[in-house]
Symmetry: D2
Subunit: 465 residues, 4 copies
Amino acid sequence: MEEQHWENNEMTFDKFHEECGVAGVFANEDAANLVYLSLYALQHRGQEGAGIAVSNRSEMKYEKGMGLVADIFSEAKLEGLAGDIAIGHNRYSTTGISELANTQPITVTINAGQISLAHNGNIVNAEEIKNELVRQGAIFNSSSDSEVIVHLIAKSKKEDLVESIIHSLRQLNGAFSLLVMTNDKLIGVRDPMGMRPLVLGKLKNGYILTSESCALDLIEATMVREIEPGEMVIIDENGLESIFPFEKTDPKPCVFEHIYFARPDSFIFGDSVYDVRKRMGKKLAEEDNIEADVVIPVPDSGVVATLGYYEESGIPFQMGLMRNHYVGRTFIEPSQSIRHFGVKIKLNPVRSVIEGKRVVVVDDSIVRGTTSRKIVKMLREAGAKEVHMRISSPPTTFPCFYGIDTPTRKELIASTHNVEEIRKYITADSLSYLSLEGLMECVNGGGYCHACFSGQYPTLHPDGD
Amino acid sequence: MEEQHWENNEMTFDKFHEECGVAGVFANEDAANLVYLSLYALQHRGQEGAGIAVSNRSEMKYEKGMGLVADIFSEAKLEGLAGDIAIGHNRYSTTGISELANTQPITVTINAGQISLAHNGNIVNAEEIKNELVRQGAIFNSSSDSEVIVHLIAKSKKEDLVESIIHSLRQLNGAFSLLVMTNDKLIGVRDPMGMRPLVLGKLKNGYILTSESCALDLIEATMVREIEPGEMVIIDENGLESIFPFEKTDPKPCVFEHIYFARPDSFIFGDSVYDVRKRMGKKLAEEDNIEADVVIPVPDSGVVATLGYYEESGIPFQMGLMRNHYVGRTFIEPSQSIRHFGVKIKLNPVRSVIEGKRVVVVDDSIVRGTTSRKIVKMLREAGAKEVHMRISSPPTTFPCFYGIDTPTRKELIASTHNVEEIRKYITADSLSYLSLEGLMECVNGGGYCHACFSGQYPTLHPDGD
Amino acid sequence: MEEQHWENNEMTFDKFHEECGVAGVFANEDAANLVYLSLYALQHRGQEGAGIAVSNRSEMKYEKGMGLVADIFSEAKLEGLAGDIAIGHNRYSTTGISELANTQPITVTINAGQISLAHNGNIVNAEEIKNELVRQGAIFNSSSDSEVIVHLIAKSKKEDLVESIIHSLRQLNGAFSLLVMTNDKLIGVRDPMGMRPLVLGKLKNGYILTSESCALDLIEATMVREIEPGEMVIIDENGLESIFPFEKTDPKPCVFEHIYFARPDSFIFGDSVYDVRKRMGKKLAEEDNIEADVVIPVPDSGVVATLGYYEESGIPFQMGLMRNHYVGRTFIEPSQSIRHFGVKIKLNPVRSVIEGKRVVVVDDSIVRGTTSRKIVKMLREAGAKEVHMRISSPPTTFPCFYGIDTPTRKELIASTHNVEEIRKYITADSLSYLSLEGLMECVNGGGYCHACFSGQYPTLHPDGD
Amino acid sequence: MEEQHWENNEMTFDKFHEECGVAGVFANEDAANLVYLSLYALQHRGQEGAGIAVSNRSEMKYEKGMGLVADIFSEAKLEGLAGDIAIGHNRYSTTGISELANTQPITVTINAGQISLAHNGNIVNAEEIKNELVRQGAIFNSSSDSEVIVHLIAKSKKEDLVESIIHSLRQLNGAFSLLVMTNDKLIGVRDPMGMRPLVLGKLKNGYILTSESCALDLIEATMVREIEPGEMVIIDENGLESIFPFEKTDPKPCVFEHIYFARPDSFIFGDSVYDVRKRMGKKLAEEDNIEADVVIPVPDSGVVATLGYYEESGIPFQMGLMRNHYVGRTFIEPSQSIRHFGVKIKLNPVRSVIEGKRVVVVDDSIVRGTTSRKIVKMLREAGAKEVHMRISSPPTTFPCFYGIDTPTRKELIASTHNVEEIRKYITADSLSYLSLEGLMECVNGGGYCHACFSGQYPTLHPDGD
């Protein structure tokens, strides 16, 4: 294997899954503020841009921007978003002709009036639908797959807007946890497989729909329940109505939400993310038999699994890698002469924890392998006697079609190399992954989408490489 | 007349006509830079926002922002706009759900591929077309009337994109000096009445289409000619093709371009703006018989007409009002106690020019009357013995449907008050306007749209108030 | 003469005199706001940076920044500057280790408490004093000559602060129109020669001291009188006290204030700037006998002199060069291929005024000659038959020691070339300057400093090149 | 006890100690960049402002700003800081007339030339010295105690600059880890008690002096050793010279550096911070006998001590409080209705870890008590059966005179309340602190300053309240 092939100077960790966060509030005078706080709590689901749209029951306004929620919204901008219904969106990554054009909510005027839409997920047949819509005369302003949903709604001949939305969503193949705001309604819907999370909360005044329960905690909303796979809730002056407009299918929530995406303090897919992640660490230890002096996480994402690993293995838990939490997107890398800079700027080993020790280091996944390789080198330079890399999920071998902009297979090291080859590349003394069976046990026997590990995509997907 | 009714604290002069500037370059490596400079030269046509889109022959990119051209485009942004075709747009004023959404160029993906569009003018039947398009399932992202043009093009069933554009423009009633950029073409077109200017220039490499000739001077392009009313030019690898796709009609260029909009150093509608404006001043003097000691302009827009007035009348020309050119849109008005602040921040009288004198002060138009009133007071406080206000155009009595966001009739002082009433309101010793006949003589006997003075709209227009 | 030697790509006009503006308000609740407005009116005296310091009678605060007044001070910043005494400063140009460190007011803690200082002028013996102070243990934070004044005050052994200030100022050789704010006083002082202007105004509540009367107009203060050369006014709770603490000497106000620095709508040195400047134009015409078709100014600084020239000569006045007033300091010059860009971005000829004409073009001065050269070329390209450059002041041959950062003699074209050589360099058909005698007649027989024309410096000066 | 008295809506955790970080590089072409990276690694020591000064051997330049290092320094600013000697400073907090004026390095011109100074620590007799200096005619530009050091150096009559620095520092009472840059030297010095850390590193080219070893790791410098208490190192072309210019005294490093200030991955005062902090947790557990189901840290500062606690007690370690790492200083608190917002925005409990459990929660210290109170409430709302607060240091009872801007005694809850009263206030089931003896054992038997716990100040201090 050519090492050169895999080296790059990436700044950020090489997660390949990409995500978004959504939040919508109905009938609360503070709607935009509560959505702002929710987006802030969901910042981990998308740091590239955010937006909030608000309805005052007669017209909509919105604000969007690139960057972090706290940087985009000034007090003046929030004050300008008057109205008691609001939806918001955090975007993980954007592509295409203009980054700003791809931020959401998408707020447009259609036959039924103004609507705003915030989408978490990925539409597998978006390109196909887009081509047909464009052929018919539609114009597209962004490269976001979410824009097709608005077009389908706009073109629907149904009398009723809710009917139009249902009719449109039925044409989609893929993942959507979707919020639609009309002048007087907040609608939330999850695709029949329920790939992305969506929870319902009760505010002192009104309701909130949002991606993860951690947002409810921040704004002191009570968690009511999760929206079910295939369920649509329509919240308006008459209260909350729940319908199941799609053909029933087996739920296939994304197991990577539990492995990496969601915050450990959230409750999704019927389970505590913290508990699931700890179980993964335990199972990983159960499947392992390495002897070591210390087990350390790659912070922050590996921490909870490592706590499980230590509980099961009895190997002492330490924070052998310290994370600098001032890392921002604007950081300049001024010095070309410093090696492995991308990881150094985030992580620094604690020599007294590592030196002379046989170290187990736990991470949630390996994508390209470059980060893992840098971490192993860093630990050896800090004096580790042995470095054993443990991954709390199976090898990620297949691209995801239900997230956004995944790398192609050839960028995934596990799709072209076996575990021993990967071990050699990352220069670890040993490497092991959690088995797929082990993983499924941790999420109560399965019913999850694990296509990125198994290639078993729950829907038909377009031919990619 | 209630004075209260007319008082407000407006910061800016109360011009009611609103405008835009456009520029497009074909086949020059420096395309975005040249468009940037052109927009800079056209800054007077729109200060609220600007954008530039560029094609590198395979895809388009754009940058947009609110504010002045020089503030929006950094060196980095311009460098990012690589490609040899570019179009740009200065926006005068924006309304609606998001100001940024209304800036142009509008860059979209349609059946024919990507297109960008920059529009100067106003589509009278935009609302009507929009309603029909929305009924058919179109989605609208802005409140700009220009968005309907893109939709019509997208929906056209014509084989050829140029045919589609023609087909679409034929459905429009109103004013358009329009640039369309495709991946490999730059198309410029003027509506059959030729209401807004559009000139063609030759660069050392390639062509430029832009609103006024002053932009050509800055970038050292040679003026070739004006695009004719109803003419479309298609510039591509094969050179420049000119066609006349519309039914022939009498040209009706907007006379207000000569009175106020255009820069005096531009050549539009077959005439030097400076010369026309000076003729207006001469004619104004010819129709006048006031005795005075000095004639002064309201700078900057009244300067050239005043030069004509002085030549004809023999009354000495002086700069009795000095303009502070550091006025910007971000200026804070910190003191509530200062009277007539809005004008003071821009204009200051020169006491030694004014004191003890009979002053003729020349402006190009009166809209609400509040600014004129403040100027008269300011001159009296500086010691003027008499103040005679002279306007180098007729009373603006009717709203314009070919610009954008004009005030309703009741905001136009001349639509509800006669000249003597206006004189009383602005507290001048005398007030006179250039006659409509006089004005028409200055533009070579007419053929111009003068609806804002006469109410004779050259097209049917929707019922407004 | 090598043309290459003189060519550069400067953006701005090549004035070599540099200036500042000051304003101070005593006993008005709105003090910081009124100073802000005054600095705004004095923006022409310095665009590089500004600051405002305020005293609430027990402590001082300040805000400073680089750029234009309107950009530096937000509403929040102004609100933070609570207090009823305030002084402010516009800086023309800064040099040294940090630009921001050189902005004023200088606010420091000394033995007598906190003081703030804003200085317009130049201290000829600053370097000498600084060297001695540093030798004694003083520390300097900036490269500004004004910092020596604060040091002298701090080190003075006088019991009383006013005595200390007097004692300090007596050691200075040079120009100072100076404001000093203490916790409860506003002190204004002009050097014995009165080189820089300083006027006293009365507010409805309290007093204002400021560089030019145009600032009084904006804030509706009444002009009381100018501060006399050598006069110090101390304004406090007991009212206004005037003293003359310096040895009497002949006043030598700077004639360049009338030629270029001051705004035409100001009244300084006992005269209207507008009137003086017009007289210069008249005298220039009187000394001239050229035959021409049109006389045009180089705007904005040449306008008023040109009005005088036309009155005297009878040659018709036109605005043959249009100025783009959106020029800002952040403008990017993206195109290397365009010639004479520096002037083009500001000025554009009006072809119909110039073409085929014998043109007299009036400017206030020539420094390096590069701008004049570009203007002549520009006029020829616009079709001028002849171009006659007329300058409303004598050749600027000597550097100024009473402004700041003047170019050395070898940069002044008139110090190394005679008029005919300059004419050749700027490629004009003829060139003439106002005579020194003529100039002195315009300012009522003299008593002005004209060292930059005559080399007759009113004080001893350090040996420069 | 009145609860009202202690309630406030503070955003940040209520640490009362305040700190700074310094870094200086000698003889490396990349000097400013390496200092930038070091300041970035030391960001935890000060987030309010930062600056870098550079010497190119003939003159100095600097850049300063408010906020985080990564936000202050753009690529352009760093490129502008050319030179091979540089020093930098992170400021924790600023006070006084202008925040920017208090940022460091302080760069001034004195008799010996230009010098720059970056100071970590607090001068106890600064006010006294300042008063005397001001009486003698000194001027002060900031309210920083570090400015007195520059004055003393400037006024020193010693022939040699190094002698002057020594002479000046001998007059100081307090803490200083100080960097001084001259045109050709980098000087580092620690006060005789060695209160603040300072380490020496070797770069491939040149040397670095910086507050903590974690900065060396980032820039791949090798740690040479710590600068000794009372040691001065002078680095110049001749290499590194070490002298001990002060009277010998017992070292008294600040124990709070180990408890809270320093990063766990740093090595200071002869020990690994991580190890010391873990020992504190162990000792805390040793002194404790509570029965509980889980021990959790208050992240991030309590994590390492908690790891020690779990090792000793055997109580399972979990991350029961999740920290949102996107918290920034610009965050808006839009909702008045949400209780305990200040803590919620940073921390969220993990219900599945807490619910039904007897929870030990470990923090490093309690200042006002308001944050602890909110954490206890938060844990109870998450279902904790019992909440036992454990603090890995003794009660902080006395203000610190060797940091900056400490709260007065009445703000320190432990100075007016006993442990039981504090327990009641924070509503915990039990509360205990690490004993002073226990703490001293963790740092190898003492020799540390523990005045904030014991009131035994190692120097005389001015009478405070």
